[in-house]
Symmetry: C2
């Protein structure tokens, strides 16, 4: 079984490392200027050029059985063409919806899935109007190319709005969202295979630093069981509606004990890295099982897990070699704030986890 992955980052790396033990082989599609260090050595890397046809890419990728992705920002037209040669999972149409914030918001709204109130904006001048209709504070999110808090701007009041309008940032298409006063950020991952079987992981609580995920804890203790059931209903509705195949992640805010969906990620997700060491079958193995026509692995938790992202730093030896720690390193060039790797912890009790997590975070901040 050969799997090709669009993208050469850490998610592609971890998919490949989960697939190798099962005897799968991999190839990767890199964009022209993409850094491919994460996946070097794990399979053929094809650097995409405009002159290539779907057929020539398919051949250079060594005729994969399935093509999947590790990011939303992919050429969906190209994927559509490639679907004449092999299976594509998830479906390119889904990617086309999700990769664009306005399309995603509209889609969620149509399915009656609760999200933060928003308006679309094609011109910065519309910001004051948005402020009047939604009320401050607001957050502007570019429709494309935004991830980990990139291409996002927080607007706390009318003054901020005026400054933004007069500022240098150019906006062609964005959404302006009401900033929610949430009590927690949680996410849930589910996986659906080609037979339509669905399984969900325990939801995680996520903490961010400068817009980037820094810590996930699973199973979360901040989510009422009723809300967890609501989340699973939302995921099921999404997956069935789309005839979805693979892992799907949903990031949410908890506002007044209600769920508000923040965004969807049609792929394996940073907030599910804890499953590598904390679930019977990891999100990476399950994504591969799902897209390759197999039955799903159990998503049951093995205990109490946490994941710490290594943002722009190495892990001190003292941290990565703690007895319950597992280092996952991405082999990237060190750069400030960059996701360099993560460490997973698995403990029998929530108390032991909390104690070790505090210790680990202290070691990291020293």
């Amino acid at each position: 079984m050969r799997i090709a992955i669009f993208g050469c980052g850490q998610l592609a790396r971890m998919l490949a490392l989960a697939g190798w033990p099962m005897g799968m082989r991999f190839s990767f599609v890199a964009e022209e200027a993409e850094d491919t260090r994460c996946v070097e050595g794990l399979g053929t890397i094809v650097r995409w050029q405009d002159s290539m046809t779907a057929q020539s890419i398919f051949k250079t990728l060594e005729e994969p059985d399935v093509i999947t992705i590790e990011k939303e920002a992919v050429n969906t037209a190209l994927l559509q063409q490639l679907s004449h040669y092999c299976k594509i999972a998830p479906n390119p149409e889904i990617l086309w919806v999700v990769q664009h914030r306005a399309r995603q918001k509209k889609f969620l709204t149509e399915l009656n899935i609760p999200t933060a109130p928003y308006v679309e904006m094609h011109d910065k001048q519309q910001l004051l109007l948005a402020g009047e209709s939604l009320g401050y504070p607001l957050i502007i999110k570019s429709c494309e190319q935004g991830y980990d808090g990139q291409q996002q701007w927080r607007i706390h009041n009318q003054e901020d709005a005026r400054a933004f309008i007069e500022g240098a940032v150019e906006i062609t298409h964005a959404i302006v969202e009401k900033m929610l006063d949430f009590t927690a950020e949680v996410s849930i991952l589910a996986v659906r295979n080609t037979k339509g079987e669905v399984a969900a992981y325990a939801p995680s609580e996520n903490r961010h630093r400068n817009g980037t995920l820094s810590v996930s804890i699973a199973p979360t203790e901040v989510l009422h069981p009723k809300l967890q059931a609501d989340l699973e209903t939302i995921l099921n509705a999404l997956m069935r509606n789309w005839d979805y195949v693979g892992v799907l992640a949903v990031e949410c805010f908890i506002v007044d004990e209600q769920i508000m969906v923040n965004e969807l990620a049609p792929r394996v997700h940073n907030s599910g890295h804890w499953t590598q060491d904390g679930a019977v079958c990891s999100q990476f193995e399950n994504h591969l099982r799902a897209i390759s026509g197999q039955s799903l692995g159990s998503t049951a938790s093995l205990g109490h897990s946490a994941m710490i992202n290594l943002l722009g730093c190495r892990a001190p030896d003292e941290l990565s070699s703690l007895p319950h720690a597992h280092l996952h390193w991405y082999d990237k060039t060190l750069r400030e704030g960059r996701k360099m790797g993560h460490i997973n912890f698995l403990h029998e009790s929530s108390g032991a986890l909390q104690m070790n997590l505090s210790h680990a975070l202290r070691l990291l901040s020293d």
Copy 2:
């Protein structure tokens, strides 16, 4: 961190797959005619030739920080020379003892570790004498090149002995052991790092088919806690005595509720594959942590585990995609009786494990 491994089989493959996530890189030493399919794609493969010096091998291996092994039958003199360039773990002297059955038996006897009564044999004619002193049934084990029941012969009575003496098999140096009437076969793996920390995994019960391991179950329920403590004492004694670094496996028989050590394996071991999915930190990750100067990972079990070897066969899809199954495939050419891969199962209860194991074994025999 670069690790070089002597040997290119499935153990080398699984060490590399456990090390990649931690950012380690690998190179492998193959013997002249060795099949390297298991590790192709996972690092540089150096095919050893007589003309090579230790220095040239070290350079071709891309100057590893540590050299380790995946089998006992290695050139220990070469490893001794390589120890001038980098660390070798475990120590080549230990390998020299263990790779030769008579030396290993003598060593165990000197440490007062209980093993089956035996005599050395340099000439087949001595077999009848051995029969008289030990009593039948006997088992002849060649001192070198024996693994998975290879180079072993069972002698049930004097008639068998005479037939063997008249037969075609040539013996230069072997041990003749009293065949034990055991109630179970168990093994225990422990790991010791460069700082002298030791941790042991739960012992497993092992079932064999034609001399090759077919199923391991861990934690075993056939071992009295007192015997488990005895086993750990034996392992500790061995490791301290040797200043051992890495994973060490001990295979034992249970005879009249006593432990009899069958053999040592100074490496990761087939009977410890269940730890990949059934322990906090697998034997592979822990071996790498130990030899690279890190602290050890927890050896705690995550539940009730079983491992089924795929001997000369593929796993039916129905088996490998059971919810609690994890396929580990070695990418070898299919050959009768050959270890092609294994499947690990992890369950919350012993009852669920037994039920699923029976189901899995039925699927495999269909």
